[in-house]
């Protein structure tokens, strides 16, 4: 079930280091969480020893059901990591196997063991690669250190899931979250959702890419981008890893502009790499940069959002709006999303699944828009059939861009299941 990958060859200095030493050779490593309030996670403590083999002490709320399975899995993972002598304490709160594996690996690495090896869960068949211009109305953020949200994230019907390694993950958890997200990309079925990962700000984000890219995410969000060179750096790193692993499918990029400088350089950033599919904006950081409060009306960020929309369209990529943080206020979200669409955004972020339906509704063309577009498209096909160069509807001549907009709107309406 577990695949052992030796990345750079197996580096093991332990035998030399441990010779003649009585006490544990390295400090213990810990990873994960446990406690009455924790669900679907596990805490693992690995104390490297000199001899005595592997000793596993297991506590689990699912012990009567999966105790043997957890023991077996721990032994397999430790063996794959090359850990031969250690005291291992596992406090399990009903973690799924891909989480247990990631936590053991993180604890082992923190104990200085298993360097250069990856223990990967079985891969769920990869979905079809995503298209550059696919529908991206909603993207649901899932904190990368909260495995309880992973398994059902795809059920809520968002266009995309973002496994987040940046702001929702504490600085001390970055290494462990990276492994969790990596395993989730392999083992979790995200259904029809586009699989996105938000890496950390560079240079830390480059380390994230090492673990993430081999699992073929569909899109990488790069946070706090302020220059084209940052995008290029990430893009080159991705290309390098893809080449190493023989990955040919596309991994799109979505730079996040979160500062006044980033906004000023929006077009330059949007055109920095061929893989860029969309630009988005982070309003918390942007308003902080300006030293102003973020308001429900959003007047303080109007310029930045318009500027970004314009730059994105100029560069031929999608413009995607920020998240709306107040989960309780559905009406304010609806108003924000309707305004977003009117401004030229194609989607926005979600921090809770209840926001998805509201956003999809707001970004859907209205019945009146569809009706109008249908007439225009009908007139266009009619003109085509008759071999006419000019499209007209009644007494009115229809310009080519109007036809293009109507065609695009109809395609979207179709993708959203609003017309057949």
């Amino acid at each position: 079930m577990w695949r052992l990958v030796m990345e750079r060859g197996f580096v093991d200095g332990r035998d030399a280091m441990s010779a003649g030493i009585e006490t544990p050779v390295k400090p213990a490593g810990e990873a994960g969480h446990w406690g009455a309030d924790i669900r679907s996670d596990v805490h693992v403590r690995i104390e490297p020893c000199e001899r005595g083999g592997i000793e596993v002490d297991l506590e689990s709320r699912v012990k009567p059901y999966y105790g043997e399975s957890i023991r077996r899995q721990s032994e397999e993972v430790l063996e794959a990591l090359g850990v031969k002598h250690a005291r291992v304490a596992i406090h399990d709160e009903g973690a799924l196997p891909f989480v247990i594996a990631a936590r053991i690996e993180a604890a082992a690495r923190r104990a200085g063991l298993g360097e250069g090896t990856r223990v990967l869960p079985d891969r769920f068949p990869l979905p079809e690669p995503s298209a550059r211009d696919r529908m991206r109305r909603s993207r649901l953020y899932v904190p990368g250190s909260e495995p309880k949200y992973f398994i059902n994230a795809g059920l809520h019907g968002a266009d995309a899931i973002i496994l987040d390694l940046e702001d929702s993950v504490h600085l001390n958890e970055k290494d462990a979250a990276r492994l969790l997200v990596r395993n989730a990309l392999r083992a979790v079925d995200f259904l029809a959702c586009e699989r996105m990962v938000r890496i950390n700000q560079l240079p830390l984000g480059l380390e994230d890419l090492e673990e993430i890219v081999p699992e073929s995410p569909d899109l990488i969000l790069i946070p706090k981008v302020e220059s084209a060179s940052q995008v290029i750096e990430a893009s080159q790193k991705i290309a390098e890893i893809k080449a190493n692993y023989g990955i040919t499918r596309a991994i799109w990029l979505m730079p996040i502009l979160e500062s006044a400088l980033g906004i000023e350089r929006a077009y330059e950033i949007a055109t920095a790499a061929r893989e860029i599919a969309a630009l988005t904006i982070g309003l918390e950081d942007y308003t902080a940069d300006l030293g102003v409060a973020k308001t429900a009306g959003g007047a303080e960020s109007l310029f930045a959002r318009q500027r970004m929309v314009n730059a994105a369209h100029a560069a031929g990529v999608q413009a995607i709006d920020s998240v709306f943080g107040d989960v309780g206020d559905v009406e304010a979200l609806r108003a924000w999303a309707l305004n977003s669409r009117a401004m030229g955004f194609e989607g926005m972020g979600c921090v809770h699944p209840v926001q998805i339906a509201v956003i999809h509704q707001a970004f859907a063309p209205t019945a009146a828009e569809i009706e109008k577009a249908q007439k225009i498209v009908g007139a266009y096909h009619e003109a085509e059939r008759k071999g006419l160069g000019v499209v007209s509807l009644g007494s009115k001549m229809i310009d080519a861009p109007v036809v293009q907009r109507a065609l695009k709107l109809m395609a979207r309406a179709q993708a959203m299941g609003l017309v057949h």
Binding site: R39, S40, R61, V62, P64, Y65, Y66, G67, E68, S69, Q73, E93, G94, A95, L96, P97, Y149, I151, N152, L155, H156, V327, H352, P353, V354
Partner: protein
């Protein structure tokens, strides 16, 4: 320390091993739905004469101990209590502790349900005052029972089954102790007013009618008459006033909150969508849902769909909460027929709105009657701890065999037109859809739909429902398929648990036959 009687086990019609005797009474193994035909007459208390009661109507006595002595309390009697005060109740333990002071032994406590705050009953069992409990047990009491420490056999009944058992004479209540949020000196009792108001007192009604002796205990004595008289003073022997019958904060919750769990919200929304798309949500329909997180969210989703479609219900069944009260107040239902009241809005509504009606297990659930309301309800949304591929379900035990919930009205509600189990497909890695349920509480032939976050499974027996949702966008899937998917996610089927070979409790079916055994946990 506990010594259960030796009893033979027999295989019942559901394929479950059940004891032939429980607490010295012969038992009838479950025969199948609607198969057991009762005979004979109902039980009845002795005839009384007004000559023996004060002409002034004043039945007050100094305290509970006095009242119990006057009722002739002695060893081995059955003392009953109701659970409308939920986890806030003080009266049941007060009565049992008074009995302990009197010095009696071997009582059977017969609550309509027990709550964790009543764990003091464990000491009374250990000291021999209580011999055993017949009624729901969970938390510490549940553990005490499933660890095999209780001397007698636990008997778990549905709310309707409890009425049936009293009415049919299977359980004879010697002394009923009724906690009354409001009462007069004659013994008329009302639950919907007073500082300890809890709404309905329906669970105490059978006790008041069939018990040999009835004691009303109140912390809000009003001059005669106490209106409404949910319990009639004509059935009451003694009235006791105390400072407090319960902790108001734990009787009803101040506010009931809808879950914010994305998975539970999804389940709730799918249930509502199912009712809509299957055409069950139509003018004049009826439904029942409990007060759990999924049920509350379901009501709020359904409410929006009812508004959008311009549909009104004729009645909804409580457990009432503010969400049902809103339906009533916004004209989306004509009536709430309420068995118990879960929050302050429910209590206030029942006190003030004549269309919010208190019901009892007799009207709602009793299977040995001339019908009951449960089978008139179009759709009911229930929870479960486990369900198998044949839609058989468990609601009382955890998969490890420990008692977790009472049956409540759950079994009775299976009679509804469309019975829906709204359950997550796994909890903490433990699959909810299993090969075989730990304890059988509901026969699969009565369970029509299982709604999980991963899809909706319709019982193949309900081709009509399958047809009704054909062409809808609902994620309809075979239960087996959801089960396999979850087993893959969880890393295989769970290990088979070893269970004890001694039954510590029985689960009764609505007709008083024995549906399954709860086994000692090893």
């Amino acid at each position: 320390m506990a010594i259960l009687e030796k009893t033979e086990l027999v295989l019942n019609a559901a394929g479950r091993m059940v004891p032939e005797m429980a607490n010295g009474r012969p038992q009838i193994p479950y025969l199948g739905v609607g198969k057991y035909k009762p005979g004979g007459n109902k039980a009845a208390p002795p005839i009384r004469t007004a000559a023996d009661y004060p002409e002034t109507g004043d039945k007050r006595v100094a305290d509970l101990e006095t009242a119990l002595r006057k009722c002739g309390l002695r060893d081995g009697m059955v003392i009953s209590s109701h659970h409308h005060l939920r986890d806030g109740d003080r009266v049941a333990l007060m009565a049992l502790e008074a009995a302990a002071r009197i010095g009696v032994k071997d009582l059977m406590w017969f609550p309509s349900a027990s709550f964790p705050s009543q764990k003091g009953a464990i000491e009374l069992m250990a000291s021999g005052v209580i011999e055993h409990i017949e009624g729901s047990m969970n938390g510490p009491l549940g553990d005490y029972c499933t660890q095999g420490k209780m001397r007698g056999m636990g008997v778990l009944r549905s709310h309707g089954g409890r009425w049936q058992a009293i009415q049919d004479g299977e359980v004879h209540i010697d002394i009923a102790v009724i906690a009354a949020p409001t009462a007069d000196f004659f013994g008329n009792c009302d639950g919907s007013h007073g500082k300890s108001a809890c709404g309905s007192l329906g669970f105490a009604l059978a006790d008041s009618i069939y018990a040999d002796h009835v004691i009303a205990v109140t912390d809000n004595l009003v001059p005669f008459p106490c209106i409404p008289w949910q319990i009639q003073g004509n059935n009451v022997d003694y009235v006791v006033t105390v400072d407090s019958i319960g902790d108001p904060a734990r009787i009803v919750s101040g506010t009931t909150q809808i879950t914010r769990s994305p998975d539970r919200l999804r389940i709730a929304e799918l249930v509502a969508l199912f009712l809509r798309d299957a055409g069950i949500m139509r003018n004049g329909f009826s439904f029942q849902a409990g007060a759990g997180g999924i049920a509350l969210a379901f009501v709020s989703y359904l409410k929006r769909m009812m508004k959008d479609a311009g549909v009104k219900a004729r009645f909804v069944r409580g457990g009432s909460t503010k969400y049902l009260v809103e339906l009533l107040e916004e004209g989306l239902t004509d009536y709430i027929l309420d068995g118990q009241t879960f929050d302050l809005s429910g209590v206030q509504s029942m006190a003030n709105n004549p269309r919010h009606v208190a019901t009892s297990p007799f009207t709602s659930y009793n299977y040995h009657g001339k019908g009951n309301f449960a089978s008139l309800v179009d759709a009911v949304v229930l929870g479960a701890t486990e369900v198998d591929e044949n839609f058989n379900a468990n609601v009382v035990t955890h998969s490890d065999g420990r008692l977790l919930h009472g049956i409540g009205g759950w079994q009775n509600c299976l009679a509804a037109g469309c019975t829906i189990l709204a359950v997550p497909s796994f909890r903490d890695r433990i699959p909810v859809i299993v090969d075989q349920v730990t304890t059988l509480c509901g026969p699969g032939e009565l369970i029509d739909v299982v709604v999980t976050e991963r899809g909706i499974a319709i019982n193949p027996r309900r081709q009509d429902l399958m047809d009704a949702v054909k062409g809808s966008k609902l994620p309809i899937r075979p239960l087996q398929e959801i089960k396999s998917e979850v087993e893959r996610i969880c890393g295989g089927k769970p290990q088979q648990l070893k269970r004890g070979d001694r039954p510590v409790a029985v689960v009764k079916w609505v007709d008083g036959t024995v549906l399954d055994s709860v086994w000692q946990v090893v």
